[in-house]
Subunit: 425 residues, 2 copies
Amino acid sequence: MDLLNRELPAYFTTYMRRYAQLIASHGLNVRPGQLVQVSTEVYHRSFIALLVEELYLRGAKYVHVDFADPAISRTRILRSNAEYLGDTPAFFSDKYHELVESGAANLKVLGPEKPDHLVDLDPHAVNTVRKGAYRAAKHFYTEGIEKSKVHWCVVAAATPAWAQRIFPTLGEQDAELRLWEQIFKICRVDHDDFMARWEAHNDLLHRRASALSSLGIEELHFQGPGTDLRVGLSSKAIFKGGSDSTPTGDRFEPNIPTEECFTTPDWRRTNGTVAATRPFYVNGTLVKGLLITFKNGEISHFSCDEGEAAFKTYTESDEGSKRLGEVALVGTDSPIFMSGLVFQEILYDENAACHIALGSAYRGCLKNGASLSDEECRELGCNISSVHTDIMISSEEVDVDARLLNGERVRLIERGAWVGSFSVK
Amino acid sequence: MDLLNRELPAYFTTYMRRYAQLIASHGLNVRPGQLVQVSTEVYHRSFIALLVEELYLRGAKYVHVDFADPAISRTRILRSNAEYLGDTPAFFSDKYHELVESGAANLKVLGPEKPDHLVDLDPHAVNTVRKGAYRAAKHFYTEGIEKSKVHWCVVAAATPAWAQRIFPTLGEQDAELRLWEQIFKICRVDHDDFMARWEAHNDLLHRRASALSSLGIEELHFQGPGTDLRVGLSSKAIFKGGSDSTPTGDRFEPNIPTEECFTTPDWRRTNGTVAATRPFYVNGTLVKGLLITFKNGEISHFSCDEGEAAFKTYTESDEGSKRLGEVALVGTDSPIFMSGLVFQEILYDENAACHIALGSAYRGCLKNGASLSDEECRELGCNISSVHTDIMISSEEVDVDARLLNGERVRLIERGAWVGSFSVK
């Protein structure tokens, strides 16, 4: 089953090539002589081959493609001696060190071939493997990603199983094709001037984030059906959106697509009730119809239509898993919102609506955040946790106001849409 | 196109599972807690998943599967800046060091998805990439493989394109199935007692190699149509066949299948003419109808029906590429010979007939060979070269005699078949 070896609409190849170019250029911004790592699943081999061509054309020194196979991950958890499940060879850490120290470009291509392949397995065993993989890559996350020492970008490619979750009435091949078409549209590669559109879109996100940062927001106030939530921000909070930069000034786009302006809240000042406006996954289980009440920063009560047990377990992961680590603003001008689809993949769904996250906060959204100690983080209400899950909380019935440090109240989003200067493209 | 997801004959799954067990047990002889690396192409993912299960069931600590994609290798050579083609990231060497230092088990699963994917490319660029990969893995080859510090095993799995080379009149799927059936038969997994058969086969190869080593052979003499070739052996020559052992005494089987007893000749004492009895590949080009004349150890003349230019270029690779580096004895009891097929894959074809190799010699086939310096090698006529190509030279019309140091003459192979005590199973 290989999409790219099938007879496809003529425009398809063009859009696929553009998508690869967008990732290599705007996403990773590969520099001549740069080492590049691509992590993905074997299923995506045809798209990856196209992408690797673009990476070499931009002057990559070496493109290392790390192909994972979900069947192998599953087999390990089922058949390995339990005592070895947390182990990873030392050369994994060596690799991550080299990626960081050489300032490599790192691409993750999401899109699960088998979305549920670990769901029926012992969650403890699954977690042990995940923790082991995290330990091996810790230097990469803390130094490479958090301090932006590497170029990094996360994108998605369609698979039949993922596509059929979104289009359950379609056959495998039709669903996959339809999902690719959505990806192309949302990522703007259905336009000849796609690269210019991304530059303009990026400028818009930068302008919005900069304007939000300079407003002096003390509290965000979300209001809508089932929602009356206040989220406090520390005076050090800054908003980010669009491309990021390495310490040496190289731009890269951490997510394609991206539609959000996000910051780190003071978790202690979260109060009120909030209704999730879209389903989301928690450790592989879909949670629907979530309602949460926060009191002095922690969840005091919640209910779900579906997935309540999984959500409960999640909130008990650690001290920080029932506290906010992120608040992000997304308007209804988002092409993901406009698609009317629920992608059941957070890279897409979090960019369809305003969202909050339960779990770890991004220190880069506090002034001088990269150098903050854990203790200083605690003093600022910057949440620390080993988990992070986004929950979408806006729709065309939700308004978002900012209460400023000077006492003023400014409307940011009305009926889901950016207003005032924030709406100007 | 995934063989294992198709409707297959009932026995097929059984044989495939046995083949995986044979590789994990007899081939790699994986020890509890051992690191395992599997190198292969993405095409083989279904077979690899089965194999990984057997590796974990034997107690492997971690199985690292390194999936290569021929499309990516090709793209690199076509699109990379030429100055980077010889580069490999440092973490490749780190990995090979860890594999050697930890005494890992290493499996190579051959079987090209696209046998000709590099044939039309600039041979200089292809060679630069190969040399770079070799440099990164040099410690692994010189310490791990040559000194048997790692367990290692080379096997093959079917692909449609490879299978259609052997069965050109069959469709892709039928050819692939037919090739798998040949692999199963040749590897004895079509018998319930396959593991015992391999033990017995291995004992036979050990006995033959040991008897050959203790004969005191001064010269091997091959005679047949177009062939009257004498190959001298040094007094330090020993024959090897079947399983090898690590310095700590762990057995492993370097090749599955294996039918040969081989040694390192004194290249200087090669004289006469020899006719290749099977076609073979030189840098991706098939050579047919080769006739060579050796004079004082070097090729003095040759002719081919096909592939003459490629063979000529090969013999000019370096000083050692026109001299012998191996001589191996295989009888017509080999199931590969009995299949009547030419596999166009050296792992199989070299085990169908006696063969010589032009190029580098294996030092392990000389007494205390691992500790010999290059200078000592030269004194013993142990050939040094960066290349090695096997050429099959026996058939049912070829006899092989040994002239011993004591002047006696012993017939080893008559009309292609082992004779006397060598034929006893």
